[in-house]
Symmetry: C2
Subunit: 235 residues, 2 copies
DNA sequence: CGCTTGTTTGACCAGACTCAAAGGTTGTGG
DNA sequence: CCACAACCTTTGAGTCTGGTCAAACAAGCG
């Protein structure tokens, strides 16, 4: 719930230019001169697991670039049920809808310790008006989000629980290197795959017994890529 | 499969300015002077039901504004299975990914007789570079698509078949006025709701018997809004 | 008229949901 | 340091929805 600014010094332009993940983020294509157009502070904001960057329905003029950690986007229905519609990782942007003056469509919650750059809408608006170099990056972000949404629709919302879990794990492996990935709590697994927590638990346990995954502590699992691919293939 | 240009005269700017659905489409905010920047022909292209505007994997430099009819966006998985991830209606834009030089992510197929304006990518690129008035519209389109994708995930991919069908019908009613909406063939209903054709058929038949819908010919049904809302509410 | 395409329905079965209870962990306060 | 609470996970038993396979029926078309 609480955000903690790291000091209140203007963390903007100087940091952006030398940003460690510059080539991953929204400002990847900006040139030296463009940075002088940034006239509002871009703060680094940290969130602890379980804290939310923003809540569905909020209207605030900020978007967030994810520097570290993973964020879940949760969409709620009028009846109170909910579904995780996307996971955001390093380099992704959360809250693009703020650029349109729309309230946030989801609640964005940290799954792990998260480090973000909080960008005021006005900064992007100004850069957009002055330089075309941001447009492409913005469209790429929209496109990525949409592609991910469509993939969830086809991969994680169809087929048996086994199949969905296998696809989820493979998707998470793609996002990291190595065979280790983060496996969220069962309730979140359920909310991602549109199955119940119990089915998620049973299926995870089954995968464990079948040697497809092995716990390595702290919600991390080592995955057997080939095995998981077999599960997907044979289905 | 085949596109048919209506003549080969340049159908662009003059028509755009006086477009009947100008306020709905991508060029809504353009001014008189902006139209002079359009240097390539924008053709009206018609598609018969079952014909495709484009196929997944194609790389062509066109996006399409939908003037009449409904289009389904179908995404395919490596294993050959597929899912309908979105329906596009009047005013919507298909093939936005062409702006990024990406191959089309879906196959876009007409469900009814469809009339489109086929816009070369270069036209949008040029307008984008010269005027900021297109940006907002473009972002709105991306945002709409994303919102629709997320809604499908939460509304049409969770809950029982009854619930999903009720939500689908209510969604389609929102898109039209009156209580009549188009109900696609059962296989497409199944591909939208991630259920089998048989379950789709059974559920439609059940709704018909319960008086929630009534056939009025040619794949059109009159819907009982309150009844459908009850189905959604009681679930 | 026969063919294709779409729809409906039945019977059976399996996977997933529900309800319920029992272990594990973690963190907190005594 | 221990005990308890809160939270998460696992497992079981019973039920029911939806998948599968199969057949019959209807409509459109060459």
């Amino acid at each position: 719930m609480k955000e903690r600014e790291i000091g209140d010094a203007w963390k903007g332009p100087p940091q952006c230019r030398s940003c460690g993940i510059r080539d991953l983020v929204l400002f990847a294509d900006l040139r030296q001169t463009d940075f002088s157009l940034i006239h509002l502070p871009i703060d680094e904001v940290r969130f602890k697991p379980g804290e939310s960057l923003y809540h569905a329905g909020d209207s605030k003029p900020y978007l967030f670039t994810l520097r570290e950690g993973t964020v879940k986007l949760v969409q709620y229905l009028p009846d109170g049920s909910h579904r995780i519609v996307r996971l955001l990782r390093q380099g992704a942007v959360a809250g693009l809808e703020a650029l349109l003056g729309e309230p946030y469509a989801h609640t964005a919650t940290a799954l792990q310790p998260v480090l973000t750059c909080r960008i005021p809408r006005a900064v992007v608006d100004r850069l957009s008006a002055e330089t075309p170099r941001l447009h492409t990056q913005l469209m790429k972000r929209w496109h990525q989000s949409l592609q991910q949404a469509d993939d969830w629709l086809t991969e994680l919302s169809t087929g048996s629980a086994r199949l969905r879990l296998a696809r989820l794990l493979l998707q998470m492996l793609d996002a990291t290197d190595g065979d280790i990935c983060h496996l969220p709590i069962r309730e979140d697994v359920g909310a991602m795959l549109a199955i119940t927590m119990e089915t998620a638990s049973r299926t995870v346990a089954e995968f464990r017994r079948a040697g497809l995954i092995a716990d390595v502590g702290d919600h991390l699992v080592r995955c057997n890529r080939e095995g998981l691919e077999d599960v997907v293939a044979e289905a």
